[in-house]
Symmetry: C2
C-alpha cells in the first residue's frame, strides 16, 4: 500500500508541476511577454492545459485511488496520507466526469467570447457579445448535465470555486446582506472629501512605499516578487515562489491598495504547510477563503486607522507635497469613503457586495431562463439602479463592465462577497485570540496576525473542506452578522451615522 | 496522406509547445525567480523534460513518420512538407535510441556534477569534482554505445550540436588554426592601452545605450526583451518572442558586447520563416551556425571601426566623462585588444579559438582514455601554457573555469570556434553581395546586412543540414582561411604587424 501511495504522490507531483508551469505561462503573459508572443502563448497554454487534464484523468490514477481506499481509512482523516488520497479522489472524480471535447469547446468558446467582449466594448455593441454568451450558456448546461445536481443546477458551478457550498446557503446569506447593505449605503449622506487621494503620485515612489509595507507584513525577496501588470493578480509557482502583480496609476493610490489585496492571496499560499509541496493539498481551500485573506489584508488591516497611525508618517515622507498638510483622520476617512459606484471594481467596502449580489441573482436567472440573454443589459441596469441608485449610460458601463461573463465563468462572483463575510468572521476570532491586534498595528507589528492566520488557516491548505475549516477556526458556519456589525461600527466611527 | 501529415504537424506542435514552455522555466529561473523557488523549479523542469521526451519518442509518432515516407518522397526536398517529415524523422530516430533510464541518469548526474563543481571551485579542490566526472564519462560511453559510430566515438557527441559534422573534419580545421593563431597572438608585442574601457559605467546608462544600438540593429519592443542575469544567454519562446539577457558590470563595457552577441542569436530565431511556427524547422540549424551569428554581430559588426564611426558619438553622449577626451581610434583599438588570457570567456578574437582547441583535444583524449581524469588538471595547464604562454595559479583558474565539463557536455565547445570560422565565411559572402556594408554601418544602416542574413541563412531554419546551408550560401565547405585572413588584416590595421 505504501508503494501505491508513493506512486500516487509521484503522479500528483507531476500534475502539480504541469499546473504550476501553466501558471508561469500565465504570469509571464501578463507581466513580461512581448505582445507578438501572444499567438504562441495561446498554443502553449492550451497544450499544457490538455496535458494536465490527461494526467488528472488517467486511468492509472483512478486505479491507484481505488486501490488506496483501505489505506485512506486506516489513517487519521487529518493525516497527510488520508488527506492527500481524499483530496486527490475528489479532484479525480470531478475531472473524469467532463468529456475532453466539452472541456476543449468551453476553452475555445471562452477565448472567442473574450475577444468578442473586447470588440463589443470598443463599439459599445452588446449584440457582438450576445451570440457568444448564448453558445456559452448552452455549454454551461452541458457541463452541469455531467454532474448529478439533485438540488440546484447552480450548485455545480459554485462547487468549482467553493467545494461543497450550496446555492441555497449563498442565497440565504445574500438575502440577509442585501437590505442591510442598501440601508447602510443610504445612511451615508454626508459627502466625503477624498481629494487628498487624487493628484500625482510617482509610480517608483509608490512601488517603494508599497514594498516597504509588504515587507513589514511578511514579504521578502527570497520567496516573493512584485511586478507590474494591467489587471493585478497573485499567483504562486511554489509555496516559496510567490508572484504578486499590481498596476500603479500615477493619479491615485489604487495600486497600493491592490498590493495589500494581492499580499493576502500571496501570504495564504506562502504559509501552507511545506510538507504539502507538489500535492493537491498545497493550495488555498477555496475561492472565498482566498478572497477572505485578500480582503482581510486590504480592508481590515489596510484601511484600519491603527495601521495608518504607524504607516502615515512614512507615506507623508514618500509624498510630502501631497500629504504634509492632510491630517491622518482626513486621509483615513478618504480611504474609507462610502459612495455607490457604477463599476464593481471601484466599489467601497459597503457597496461592493451589492454588485456581487446582483450578479449572482442574474447568473441564476440566466441559468433558469427567466432572464433571456438579449434582455440582460436592461435587467442588469434595473438591478444596479434598484440596489445602488445609479443607472449606467451605456452597456460598457453596465453589463459589459466585467470580463467574467465573456467566457461564462458563472459561480465565481459570489465568492467575492463570501470572502468579505469570512474575512470578518476570521478577524473577530483572531482579535479575540490575540487580544487587541490593532495595538500591535500602531507599533508596526503585523507578525502576530500573520502568524495566527498561518497557524489556524493557511497551513492546512486543502486538508479540510471550506465549511470544516470555517467551523474549526470560528466555531460557526458562514455568518453575515459579524461583517454587518463591522460595517456598522465603521460607519458610526467615520461618519457618526447609526443604522439598524 | 495529408491527414497523416496534419496529424504529424499537430504532434510536432505539441512537442514545440512543451519545449518552449521548458525554455520559459529556464529563462524565468535565470532572470526573475526568487531564490527559494529553486527546488520547485528543478522538479518542474524535470517533469517538462520527461513529458517532451515521451512525446518525442511516442510509438504513434514513429508510425506516422513511417507512413509518411512516400509523402516525403513525392515532395520537393526543399518544400515545407518534405522538410518537416525529414527533420522530424531525424529527431525521432535519435531520440528513440537512448533509453529513458540513461537519459534520466545523465540529467541527475549532470545536476549533481554541477553542484560538485560549485563546491569544488569554492574550495579549490578538484578531487570533489573528480568522481562526478568519472561517473559522467561512463555515462558518455553508454550514450555513445546507443548509436552506430563507425568512425570516431566523438562523432556521436558532436552530432548533438552539429548534425552531420565529423570529428575528423573539425580536427583538420583546428590543426590549420592552431599554429596560425599561436603565431598571430605572438605577433602582437606592443602593449595596448585599454584603460578607457575601465572605470565606472552606470548600469542604467549602459542599458539605454545598448538598447539604442540593438533597436538600430533590428530589435523592437513588440517581439523582444532584454533582461538582467548572471550568465548572459538568448532564448526564444516563439519566433516573435525573443528573450535576450545580459549582465551590465559597472566597471567595464563587457555587458554591451554581450548584448551584441546575444542579439546575433536572437535575430537568427526572429527571422526564421514564420510558416515554420511550432515545427522542428523553426530553429537555428546548429550550434556552430548559431554561434556564427552571435560572433558576426559581436565581432564583425560590433568591433568594426565603421560601426563605431557611427556609434561613438552616441557612446560619448552616454558617458561623456569617460570618453570625451578619448579619440575614436584609441577606443576602437582598446575594444580589439589582443592579449592571451587564462579565462576563455575573457579571450579576444585571436586567442579565443585556442581555448576551444585545447578543450576539444582534451575531450577526445578523455574519451579515448589517453588522459586519465585524475591527470586532467595538469594536462589542461600544460596545454594552456603551450598555446597561450600562461599558467593557471590553481584549478579554479584552470581546469574548473568552465561549467561545461561539470555535466560532461562534450561536443559543445568546438562549435564556438566553428562559429568564428563560419561567421567570417558568411561575412565575406554578404560583403560581396552587398557591396560595401561598412559604408552603410558608418551611416548607421545595419538593415541591409540583417536582411541579407534573413534571406540567405535565417529564414531556412533547419530546412538544410548545416553543411548544405554553408555550401549553398558561400559555395564552400567549412574553411578556416577567410577567418585567418580576416584576423591578419585586422591585426595589420590595428597594430601594423604582418604575419605569414
Amino acid at each position: 500500500m505504501q508503494g501505491s501511495f508513493d506512486e500516487l504522490v509521484r503522479r500528483l507531483g507531476e500534475i502539480s508541476d504541469v499546473e504550476k508551469t501553466a501558471g508561469l505561462l500565465g504570469w509571464d503573459e501578463e507581466t513580461k511577454m512581448p505582445p507578438l508572443g501572444a499567438d504562441a502563448r495561446a498554443e502553449q497554454r492550451a497544450t499544457l492545459t490538455r496535458i494536465a487534464h490527461e494526467l488528472q484523468t488517467s486511468p492509472e490514477l483512478g486505479e491507484l485511488l481505488e486501490r488506496l481506499r483501505g489505506f485512506e481509512e486506516e489513517h487519521d482523516p487529518e493525516s497527510f496520507e488520508a488527506s492527500v488520497v481524499r483530496v486527490a479522489r475528489h479532484d479525480y472524480e470531478k475531472a473524469v466526469r467532463v468529456p475532453p471535447s466539452l472541456r476543449a469547446e468551453r476553452a475555445r468558446s471562452g477565448s472567442r467570447g473574450y475577444r468578442a467582449w473586447l470588440e463589443a466594448r470598443r463599439r459599445d455593441d452588446y449584440s457582438i457579445l450576445l451570440p457568444h454568451l448564448e453558445h456559452g450558456l448552452e455549454l454551461l448546461h452541458e457541463y452541469i448535465a455531467c454532474f448529478d445536481s439533485a438540488d440546484d443546477p447552480y450548485d455545480v458551478l459554485l462547487d468549482d470555486y467553493e467545494p461543497g457550498m450550496k446555492t441555497a446557503e449563498v442565497a440565504e446569506v445574500f438575502s440577509r446582506l442585501k437590505p442591510e447593505l442598501i440601508a447602510l449605503a443610504a445612511s451615508v449622506q454626508e459627502p466625503v472629501d477624498d481629494s487628498c487621494l487624487r493628484g500625482h503620485f510617482d509610480a517608483a515612489a509608490q512601488r517603494r512605499f508599497a514594498l516597504s509595507v509588504l515587507e513589514r507584513w511578511g514579504m521578502d525577496d527570497d520567496a516573493w516578487r512584485l511586478d507590474d501588470t494591467v489587471h493585478p493578480f497573485a499567483g504562486s509557482l511554489s509555496p516559496s515562489d510567490i508572484r504578486l502583480t499590481t498596476n500603479f496609476h500615477e493619479e491615485n493610490l489604487v495600486g497600493l491598495l491592490s498590493c495589500m489585496h494581492e499580499f493576502g492571496h500571496g501570504i495564504y499560499e506562502r504559509q501552507v504547510d511545506p510538507a504539502f509541496f507538489r500535492t493537491p493539498l498545497a493550495h488555498g481551500v477555496s475561492s472565498a477563503f482566498h478572497e477572505s485573506q485578500s480582503r482581510l489584508w486590504e480592508n481590515l488591516v489596510g484601511r484600519n486607522l491603527a495601521t495608518w497611525r504607524f504607516l502615515y508618517p512614512e507615506l507623508r515622507d514618500a509624498f510630502p507635497q501631497q500629504f504634509a498638510r492632510v491630517p491622518l483622520e482626513t486621509f483615513h476617512r478618504a480611504l474609507n469613503k462610502v459612495e455607490p459606484s457604477l463599476k464593481r471594481t471601484d466599489a467601497d467596502e459597503v457597496t461592493y457586495s451589492l454588485h456581487i449580489i446582483l450578479r449572482f441573482e442574474l447568473e441564476r436567472e440566466m441559468l433558469a431562463g427567466t432572464v433571456a440573454l438579449r434582455d440582460l443589459p436592461e435587467a442588469f441596469d434595473a438591478k444596479l439602479e434598484e440596489y445602488l441608485g445609479l443607472r449606467p449610460r451605456d452597456d460598457v458601463e453596465g453589463v459589459m463592465q466585467d470580463v467574467h461573463w465573456s467566457d461564462m465563468s458563472f459561480g465565481y462572483f459570489p465568492t467575492y462577497a463570501l470572502g468579505n463575510v469570512i474575512s470578518v468572521q476570521l478577524w473577530e476570532r483572531a482579535a479575540a485570540d490575540l487580544g487587541n491586534p490593532e495595538e500591535a498595528f500602531e507599533q508596526g507589528e503585523f507578525g502576530p496576525l500573520r502568524e495566527w492566520l498561518g497557524e489556524h488557516v493557511h497551513r492546512w491548505g486543502r486538508t479540510f473542506t471550506p465549511q470544516e475549516l470555517l467551523e474549526r477556526v470560528t466555531g460557526s458556519s458562514l455568518d453575515p452578522e459579524p461583517y454587518l456589525a463591522y460595517l456598522r461600527r465603521k460607519l458610526e466611527q467615520l461618519y457618526g451615522v447609526s443604522v439598524g
